[in-house]
């Protein structure tokens, strides 16, 4: 324990790291665009958890930041899902392996 000032800080950061790593692994390994999207959300929320946990030490600004992140994530979800939907309509698939129009 690091003391009464910051209860459960260690486990919270640890969980956050695990969740973030899961997100990264998901982005790297999975091909389904929806799953990828979920993994990105997972990473964002892992970061949120970090913010909340560290807010105990550094004041409320961390918690304010979480609201920003959640807002951005909501907007991102709307745009991202719209893009995925558009891709699906076009390609009848959300497998990222098939989407490589940017190849040089």
């Amino acid at each position: 324990m690091t003391g009464g000032m910051a209860p459960l800080l260690g486990p919270a950061l640890g969980l956050s790291a695990i969740l973030f790593s899961l997100g990264v692994a998901g982005v790297l390994l999975r091909r389904n665009a929806i799953v990828l999207f979920v993994c990105i959300e997972l990473m964002l929320n892992a970061v949120n958890l970090t913010f909340v946990a560290l807010a105990q030490l550094h004041g409320a600004s961390g918690q304010v930041m979480v609201f920003f992140v959640m807002t951005v994530a909501a907007a991102e979800a709307a745009v991202g899902l719209a893009i995925i939907l558009a891709i699906f309509r076009h390609k009848q698939s959300v497998d990222l392996q098939n989407i490589n129009l940017l190849r040089g």
């Binding site: 790297l28 990222l96 490589n100 040089g104």
Partner: protein, 657 residues
């Protein structure tokens, strides 16, 4: 003095003629009458100006040359070149000769070129040539002379290739231009050397400074004079750069008469005389000049023996006579060279115009019967005396003149050259050899000229029964100039009569101020008394023998026409093929050069190194790098994420360290 100030008018008039005729040539409608008036008209005007300048100079005792500055041309630091004309005894003589003979040839051309579609273009070129030639002889310094020197080369090119639709003519023009360029390189380098050594390019100043600043007989002056002489061999068709002149006969015949006999080809002789002090200071160069001249005189005369084209015979004769002039100036007989230059201009222009008259008649005869025989081949002529008596008699006069029969003009000038070479032999024995060459060339000259006259005018007519009815004498506009030249060929020797003929070397005295700087270093004392008479008598005898032999030998056998003549064999074949010099040059220089240009420079350097390695190589390198970079862009989101992650981690590591 007053007359000299107007000398620019002699140049401006033909220049105006060039502009007018050039503008008329661009019009679709032919304006033959206007061209016929402007073309020869401006020349006659220039002749009148020249006559004024000459007479103005004649009335005064010899003195410093008049410099007529027009405007500053190259004021560059220590180098100050003005566009200025120099009027002295030498340029006055040349001026009079160029405009005089030029006027006659312009008049002749009115008749000769009457039916040519390029009539206005022809006169535009001819006027431009006269402009350049006058700039050449009037220029008061090397660069101005060089304008004319290059200009006459250009006009020569344009006029040789006048009938450019025939590739052979265009090639002949190109050959003349390239050969001349080789020589011009020598003049250019000589100019640079003169500037470095003397700090001036002005003729008057060169004559003044050279004796003080250059070592007589030294390497520098020898080098400079040899470089100048290289230019002269190109312009004046001497060995080794003479091969363009016979090919230059592809141009219209009056052009051959004006450019390739009377004026342009004598520019080399003029240049040597103009820079006589340099040549006099370099005995080695003078010996080379005289040697090349003597060898060329003999060599070209032997080729002329077996040519069948009437103009080719005259072309080689011109090369040979130019050799005589160089023999003269190489023997330090500068005035003698100019003397022969002038008389040669008279009789050779007459011969060429006479040949033009003959070709004109032959061409019309063949044209009337739609025959495709060669109108210039002497084997197709014969017996033309009955059809064109005026041309025959006038050409006979010129033949006697060139063969050196007294009292015609060629006798005096040629005799003086041989005497000078003989006299020079006392100092340098090699000149006795040159003298011998000259004497043999006299024999050959008389022989081939007698052959020309006999084949063309005497004996049976070989043109063809149908054609011979169409042969006729040329119109008066052509015979008129011939008549004037005939008179000049007869009495032209009067300008420089030797003492034994009751004269006092008038031309030599007139040219004294010009040749004096050279005479201070090398002076030729002509033989007197018994020796002189012996030399003269010998030369006359040899000339007569040559004429008789040529006449007899040509008349002795029946001459087959060109189409049925068998190929020559043995020595005659070698002579007819001009010692295969063209073929040797082709094999030794032209083809290796073309091979080098094509295989090494074009395919190797240009296509291989420049295009291949430099230009396309850079493009290929960029494309390769681009290809490598584009391999990173897989389009797979996963790969981007990995890279992004690696990058993020790398930055994180760098930041936290």
């Amino acid at each position: 003095m007053i007359a000299s100030q107007w000398v620019w008018l002699a140049v401006a008039l033909p220049l105006a003629g060039f502009l007018v005729n050039g503008a008329l040539a661009l019009r679709r409608a032919p304006a033959k009458l206007a061209v016929s008036i402007v073309g020869p008209g401006v020349l006659l005007g220039a002749f009148a100006v020249s006559l004024g300048v000459f007479l103005g100079l004649l009335g005064q005792p010899p003195h410093e040359p008049h410099i007529v500055p027009l405007w500053p041309w190259m004021p560059a630091g220590a180098l100050e070149v003005d566009l200025a004309f120099q009027v002295d005894q030498l340029s006055a003589v040349m001026l009079l000769m160029v405009t005089g003979v030029g006027s006659l040839i312009h008049l002749f051309s009115v008749g000769y070129m009457k039916e040519d579609p390029g009539y206005a273009r022809y006169f535009a070129y001819l006027n431009l040539f006269v402009v350049c030639m006058l700039v050449l002889v009037l220029g008061s310094n090397f660069p101005v002379l060089f304008i004319g020197w290059e200009g006459v080369g250009l006009c020569s090119y344009l006029l040789i290739g006048f009938w450019f639709t025939d590739k052979a003519n265009a090639d002949a023009g190109l050959k003349a231009f390239i050969m001349n360029r080789i020589g011009d390189f020598g003049v250019l380098v000589a100019m640079v050397f003169l500037w470095r050594e003397l700090g001036t390019l002005d003729f008057v100043q060169i004559a003044g400074r050279a004796p003080e600043m250059l070592e007589p007989g030294g390497t520098v002056v020898t080098l400079i004079t040899l470089l100048i002489f290289l230019g002269c061999t190109g312009k004046s068709a001497q060995i080794p750069l003479y091969t363009w002149l016979p090919d230059a006969m592809a141009g219209p015949t009056p052009v051959s008469a004006l450019i390739h006999a009377a004026t342009m080809v004598t520019a080399g002789v003029y240049l040597v005389v103009r820079t006589n002090v340099l040549f006099a200071m370099a005995p080695l160069s003078s010996a080379v000049v005289a040697g090349i001249g003597a060898v060329t005189a003999l060599f070209a005369a032997t080729i002329a023996l077996r040519q069948y084209d009437i103009k080719k015979v005259l072309a080689y004769s011109t090369v040979s006579q130019l050799g005589y002039m160089f023999l003269a100036v190489g023997s330090a007989a500068f005035a003698g060279g100019i003397f022969h230059l002038v008389t040669h201009a008279f009789f050779k222009a007459l011969l060429f115009l006479g040949a033009g008259s003959v070709i004109h008649a032959m061409h019309h005869a063949y044209h009337a019967t739609h025959s495709h025989q060669d109108a210039q081949d002497m084997r197709n002529m014969g017996g033309l005396r009955q059809h064109m008596p005026v041309t025959f008699w006038l050409m006979s006069i010129a033949t006697l003149a060139i063969a050196g029969i007294p009292p015609l003009s060629g006798f005096f000038s040629k005799d003086e050259i041989l005497a000078s070479a003989f006299a020079r032999g006392a100092e340098m024995p090699v000149f006795y050899l040159y003298y011998a060459f000259g004497v043999v060339a006299v024999l050959l000259t008389a022989f081939y000229m007698a052959r020309l006259i006999t084949m063309t005018f005497l004996g049976e007519n070989r043109t063809g029964a149908e054609e011979s009815r169409h042969l006729h004498e040329a119109p008066w506009i052509m015979t008129g100039p011939l008549l004037v030249l005939g008179v000049l060929s007869l009495i032209g020797g009067a300008i420089n009569l030797p003492t034994f003929a009751g004269g006092h070397h008038a031309l030599e005295e007139r040219l004294e101020p010009v040749t004096a700087p050279g005479a201070a270093f090398a002076r030729v004392e002509l033989p007197h008394g018994a020796t002189e008479l012996l030399l003269v008598g010998g030369a006359i005898l040899i000339g007569v023998v040559g004429l008789v032999l040529g006449y007899r030998a040509t008349l002795a056998r029946r001459i087959p026409t060109a189409s049925e003549a068998p190929e020559d064999t043995g020595l005659a074949r070698v002579l007819n093929r001009k010692y295969y010099v063209d073929e040797i040059y082709d094999a030794a220089i032209v083809r290796p050069l073309v091979w080098l240009s094509r295989v090494v420079l074009w395919k190797g350097v240009d296509q291989g190194v420049v295009d291949g390695a430099a230009v396309n190589g850079t493009a290929k390198l960029s494309r390769g790098l681009g290809w490598l970079g584009s391999r990173l862009q897989t389009g797979q989101v996963g790969v981007y994420v990995v890279l992004f992650l690696v990058g993020a981690l790398w930055i994180l590591r760098a930041v936290t360290r």
